[in-house]
């Protein structure tokens, strides 16, 4: 199976009384809480952590896109991915992803992803989320009623831009371009693998199956809450006559490892409580926008992640204290053997071949994040990699041969170079 290292890049210094004093971590979070000089260190720590994960042997490093968000400092994950392309050699770069409908024209996404694919020698996984209501409708002002149709059209445009050999005119409902002809073109043929981070809507599952894209369920609520969604996904694949290849799916899981479970509880308590207490504090007025959720999905009773949090809050079921966070499975903690056994069970039960691990979360500092990452790589990873070896991962990047790729120039600070 594939083990991937995911970073949300949370701002790590939200105040202790954030939940009492501020209405929302997202959309209208106050600028006075953002200290650029502190964020300078956060970004550099986070990028160190991603590079460290690549060195440790994770199959991929993952970044994602959020706007006006106190727990996601990557309005443009492409910037981070391009820096990682220059500081990693064999690790896949999973950009999870670019919200297609936000870019005008969407060929911008085709271009930037092609750049990352070319710079990295074909290591890109191209993620295409619709984007949350907070990101798309509120922070970016996109119309919720046309968002999905724009998204699907942009997806078709990007695919054509990557695959058609001649300059073509695109006569879409929302996009018209006389001359579509992107330079550069992606290394991977016919195009980089496409992964779709989605919620639990049947329409998304069907579309992923039809397009042969990976469906990734990026939940913050762990394997217990994710079971029903993944069961629904596989039931739908059965109905559509698709095989149960676990590499059709991806799943996100928070993990904290130490020498013992007690030690893990002690070490990861603060960052976990920071994440579930402060980072998920979103004003319910931004949880949904009319038209964002399709009527079919409304009929099926499926709600988005932040709307879900709003409901949990109303019924007081959102866990914010470590005991409940662990009990509900939001975060898996334990010794390496305990975590390996549990993750194996999760992967098998959910039938997920791409596990995206959140090993830095909340206000976790670099040293602890690296400790967690190293323990995972040395003691957990070897216990899991054999899983699903009978299946072929048709959705993994196909880079250029190592010999054919550029060798990376070691970084030398200017002062040292001058000596």
């Amino acid at each position: 199976m594939k083990l991937m290292w995911f970073h949300l890049m949370p701002y790590t210094e939200l105040p202790d009384d954030f939940r009492e004093k501020h209405p929302s971590v997202w959309v209208d979070i106050h600028s006075s809480l953002f200290d650029p000089r502190r964020a300078h260190h956060m970004y550099n720590d986070f990028m160190d952590e991603l590079e460290f994960a690549a060195e440790c042997g994770f199959d991929a490093v993952c970044v994602n896109e959020h706007h006006s968000n106190g727990y996601g400092l990557m309005p443009s994950p492409n910037l981070i991915a391009s820096a990682l392309a220059r500081r990693t050699s064999d690790t896949a770069l999973c950009v999870m992803g670019n919200s297609l409908a936000l870019y005008n024209p969407p060929t911008r996404v085709a271009e930037e992803f092609a750049m990352i694919d070319v710079i990295s020698g074909g290591r890109l996984i191209a993620g295409f989320p619709v984007g949350t209501p907070m990101d798309t409708c509120f922070a970016f002002g996109q119309n919720p009623s046309t968002l999905r149709d724009r998204y699907y059209e942009a997806h078709d445009l990007v695919l054509r831009a990557w695959t058609e050999t001649n300059t073509f005119a695109f006569n879409g409902r929302f996009n018209q371009q006389r001359y579509v002809n992107i330079w550069p073109r992606p290394v991977q043929k016919p195009h980089p693998p496409i992964w779709i981070p989605g919620g639990g809507s049947i329409e998304t599952w069907r579309w992923c199956a039809e397009m042969d894209h990976v469906y990734a369920y990026l939940s913050y609520f762990g394997y217990q809450a994710g079971q029903a969604t993944m069961d629904g996904f596989w039931a739908e694949m059965d109905r559509l006559g698709k095989d149960r290849n676990p590499y059709r799916a991806g799943f996100l899981q928070f993990v904290g490892i130490a020498e013992s479970r007690e030690e893990a509880y002690r070490l990861y308590r603060e960052p976990a409580e920071y994440f579930y207490g402060r980072c998920l504090h979103v004003d319910p007025r931004f949880a949904n926008a009319p038209g964002y959720t399709s009527e079919a999905t409304q009929r099926a009773g499926v709600v988005g992640q932040v709307a879900q949090v709003a409901r949990m809050r109303r019924f007081d079921t959102l866990a914010r204290e470590m005991d409940a966070i662990v009990e509900k499975g939001y975060v898996i903690i334990g010794s390496p053997d305990e975590v390996a056994a549990q993750l194996r069970e999760v992967a098998v039960n959910l039938n997920v071949g791409h596990l995206m691990m959140l090993l830095q979360f909340g206000n976790m500092g670099k040293e602890l994040a690296k400790y967690n990452t190293k323990l995972f790589a040395e003691k957990v990873m070897p216990q899991l990699t054999d899983l699903f070896s009978e299946w072929e991962d048709r959705w993994w990047p196909q880079p250029m041969d190592r010999d054919a790729r550029a060798s990376l120039t070691p970084f030398q600070p200017a002062a040292m170079a001058a000596e």
Binding site: C137, F138, G141, Q142, N143, P144, S145, T146, R173, F174, D283, P284, R285, F286, A289, P290, G291, E295, Q298, R299, G301
Partner: protein, 264 residues
């Protein structure tokens, strides 16, 4: 003696729109505001005592099916409303609108001179003033919505309450659809740049504002009145909110009837 309520539907771009018709005398159209009309309201009965009141549903509003989903531009919207008014038998008639509906009533009056005889706009959408922004009607916590739209929140609750025994997911979906339809035309600021077209309105226009409107600032009434080419008068109704016709049905209906009679 008012006639019985008649309900029929007209086809707009392949989607049906419900039309209500009731009353006696010359026709008077009414285009509903934010949220639409999931049920008949007392305000329409008052109008029907003296006029044949005709109420077509805007695309996507309750009774208006999913007609909004094919309207991609503002031109699509105003053409759909124009056809709706024609098919409902309102071409050349007096026309009143509220909130979202008022904005489209203003558009059709501006773009098709002569299509509306006398015009009444209750707190119309379509303008935006950075110094005094319109309240965001969509980014709201559900329990706070009723008091934003009506001076008496119970009026909104009564309008939107699911009929007893209905127990169907369709009712809430229909209410969300109405909010989506308004969003499709007005997201994110409510600004359709209607201000550019107001000078084309030659029809005499009455602007009605609820004194307790918590969505559209009162200053917008002055901007409408100043920009409209024809005669424009403003009347403010005490005790009424944004959807003034829900809060004060008798006062609003009387003001409308007085205004259209002035021109007879």
């Amino acid at each position: 003696m008012a006639s019985e309520l008649e309900t029929f539907s007209v086809d707009i771009n392949g989607f049906s729109s419900r039309v209500w018709k009731k009353g006696v005398g010359p026709p008077l159209g009414f285009l509903a505001g934010f949220g639409g009309l999931p049920r008949w309201i007392p305000f329409l009965d008052v109008l029907a005592r003296e006029r044949t009141v005709i109420v077509p549903s805007l695309p996507g509003f309750p009774g208006g099916a999913r007609g909004h989903t094919v309207l991609d531009s503002h031109l699509d919207w105003v053409l759909a409303v124009r056809h709706l008014l024609q098919k409902a038998g309102l071409d050349g008639a007096d026309l009143a609108g509220s909130s979202v509906g008022a904005s489209f009533a203003a558009e059709t009056t501006a773009i098709w001179p002569g299509s509306v005889r006398r015009l009444v706009l209750i707190a119309p959408w379509g303008l935006f003033d950075e110094k005094e922004p319109m309240t965001d009607p969509w980014a709201q916590r559900a329990p706070e919505v009723p008091a934003l739209l009506c001076a008496d929140p119970e009026r909104w609750n009564q309008l939107k309450a699911e009929p007893e025994g209905a127990n169907s997911p369709e009712w809430p979906i229909e209410q969300t659809r109405a909010n989506e339809a308004a969003a499709r035309a007005f997201w994110p600021l409510g600004n359709t740049r209607l201000e550019k077209r107001l000078p084309l309105i030659a029809a005499p226009t009455l602007l009605i504002w609820g004194a307790e409107d918590r969505i559209m600032p009162r200053s917008y009434a002055d901007r409408f009145a100043a920009a409209i080419a024809g005669e424009a008068r403003i009347t403010t109704i005490a005790g009424a909110g944004h959807l003034a016709e829900l809060d004060k049905p008798d006062e609003i209906a009387s003001a409308i009837l007085r205004w259209i009679k002035e021109g007879s």
